[in-house]
Subunit: 238 residues, 4 copies
DNA sequence: CATGAATGAGCGTTCATTCAT
DNA sequence: CATGAATGAACGCTCATTCAT
């Protein structure tokens, strides 16, 4: 059974959108910051940006979005002034976008290579669940930071700027085609693919929580429970 | 098969905890507000409190925790001064506690009566899922407000004051005994009850989202998908 | 050598002034309080007033004028609402006046009986120093409360309402005639009586501080040092 | 008779303490102000700080500690926003510390050079009294500001942060060694040096008050009265 | 005699951002 | 590339006081 090629994370698309947004807003960066897009950024500037993004991730994960202020990030990054942040990123929103891009990109790189080569729908589903839960388990700060941003970042009118989490959406987008393909090939039973994809995504998130709560579940145990659940919930009634 | 009596929502316990906390802190209500607990509150005061809590819920749901300021609540409640809020609730934290108590109480009243009388584990599970998803679907602001508080309210040291959502915890607490009873009676297969409870709870939340997203799923459809999934995921392998 | 009759503390005069002020302002006590002066106050009201004044004194002494709020006084007095304070005293300023009156009256009663019957200027001076330092040592809260009020209470224009402390003024007023009489009778040398009176008053206050600081000075030691100093500083050069 | 070298004002030590405190707390200057200690402050920043400190001194002297708010200081300094104050000083407490340091430093510079070269205990005592009373008479605002801070500034627990005035302590510390040296050399009689030092300090303060009160005492008169009093109170009985 | 409800003004502090070099 | 200086707006909270019974 052929699995659609579009199964990969769509982080690349998201990244391009973000870059375009950044480029668009460069015109109003009146305070005098770096004027170019990512491609023509100097080495030093890139390093500073990475340093600040890393500090932002840790702050978000530990203190939450509401407490993630320029002052706290400054402190954690060990830089001299909050001015450096607005210098490199313009506004807070753009910094948050940069965090999202960074995290999404790293997640994509880690996950995409794990899911190649599966031919059955169940195999693809299982591999993807495995890859996602493992990455999440190993990058809790990134997961938490992403969630904080997506659930709290709003535009001037008060609307959430990232309706659902970026990788969440990407992951759901990645899961749904697999589910649809499985239904078409007769491997899976009939169900609402959108809801099932959401549920599996939520189950993965729940597993992360479950692993941290006593009595702790080990990563392999967790993966086994999840893949079993996915198999039972999707397979054709015998 | 007898389902444990403790299946009911434990909101009562949570409420008592909150009340105790409120009572304990009465001593530091230095700004001069009503000093009594809920039991000895006057009619006018109760009405004002309800009015403010309602405004807080709407504000939380619409604008998020970060934008839920006394000023916004004041405006939405149509009261004359933010002082009225701190007069009746002391601090913002205590207002948030009051919101949580109010929402939890209303949810409990609505749900508990729906799940009585079920004798089989699957029946109890199905009834509870049905009741919870329906209540959530009909009280989206309350659900959203609760989530905003639980995910963002922190104490002075930066620790989340409500680790998991109150009804979330209550719901998970309510689901797990059913699952355990089902396993003991042989009605359910073996799985980690903690993770399964979390997953089902997450699936319910996902369903709320799914209903709001086009192409929309109707409430009955949603309930059917969820109960089917629960049945398949838990039943003994044939 | 006859000592002027006016040596006694003039607290009576101060009290009358305060009472007049209270009486004058009764007309604008719009919130509905007791309408009469001290003479026609009921027993219960007097008790309440005393209770509140006592709490105010303790609060002033412990926390200072800036932290002496109606809320704190309420707490310490164990009453139900700050409303009781404004009910009995009208404004904060009038409460402070009541504190001053109470403390001044008690001081006068304690001191005046100790200094009767002295015939020489040095005897009168010594007796008064003794009486004052002893009273202060035994009523530290009252001393402190009085100082807090006199140094910090201001009227609407920002002017201190009690230029020097009431008993301070009273004490200085009481000391100066003794000094003047001593100079006229030739018992004392020539000096500025105003400055000397102030200095002796300050020395008494300093002694209070000195007794509390290690290595502690006992009360009798303290009195001896002070009276010796007064004798040496005032006596006619041999 | 050799007077101990340590007679000089210990303002230097106090200044270092304050600087250390400032340096320690730099970490929590979260609002984004100048982060450096006094030594590495820019010219513009130093000027602004001086301007604000001067306005704070005048406000403290005129309106008292309780009325010394950022808004009042802003107005008197003629600056655009209260934010400028917290920008340069962080918190109100640190501004108060800066006032204390500034005043103490200026007092030290003015006084210390006046008391050098005295060889007898009485000479040193007289010179110091003269210098102190003159400085105080010429800097009434500074004296008053210092007193307001020391009597009213409290930490979070309500404890006075500057138990005795900085220069008061320094002055008392400066007086006591002179007194002790005079006793050891036989120049002075026996008395409690701690109490005598306190008393002389108090007498100096009293003199400031006396000069402002009609019938006014002139500065030279005042100095003469004080030095006479000190001589008579300390000299060996003939 | 006592209380409940309400209130406007003001507090110090923190926010992200902009204007200068 | 980096920094220093400045800023208006908003925050939660506390103040003494007044209007009702």
């Amino acid at each position: 059974m052929p699995v659609p090629a579009s199964v990969g994370l769509n982080v690349t698309r998201l990244r391009n959108e973000l870059l375009m947004r950044v480029t668009e807003t460069d015109g109003r960066n009146e305070a005098g910051g770096p004027s170019a897009g990512a491609s023509e950024r100097s080495l030093a500037a890139s390093a500073r940006r990475a340093q600040i993004v890393a500090a932002a991730i840790e702050t978000l994960a530990e203190s939450g979005h509401g407490q993630t202020t320029f002052a706290r990030i400054k402190e954690r990054a060990g830089i001299s002034s909050t001015r450096l942040i607005s210098y490199h990123f313009g506004t807070k929103g753009e910094l948050m976008d940069a965090v999202l891009e960074e995290v999404g990109l790293r997640a994509q790189q880690a996950i995409s290579q794990r899911v190649a080569g599966e031919t059955s729908a169940l195999g693809a589903l299982t591999a993807r669940i495995e890859a996602q839960v493992e990455w999440a388990a190993r990058n809790p700060s990134s997961v938490r930071a992403m969630a904080e941003i997506c659930r709290n970042e709003r535009d001037a009118e008060g609307v959430l700027r990232h309706g659902t989490e970026v990788t969440a959406r990407a992951n759901v987008d990645a899961l749904e085609p697999i589910l649809r393909a499985g239904q078409e090939s007769g491997e899976f039973r009939q169900f609402d693919t959108g809801l099932m994809a959401l549920t599996l995504k939520s189950a993965i998130d729940a597993a992360i929580v479950r692993m941290a709560r006593p009595p702790r579940l080990s990563l392999p145990q967790c993966v086994r429970e999840l893949t079993t659940l996915a198999r039972l919930a999707t397979r054709r009634e015998p």
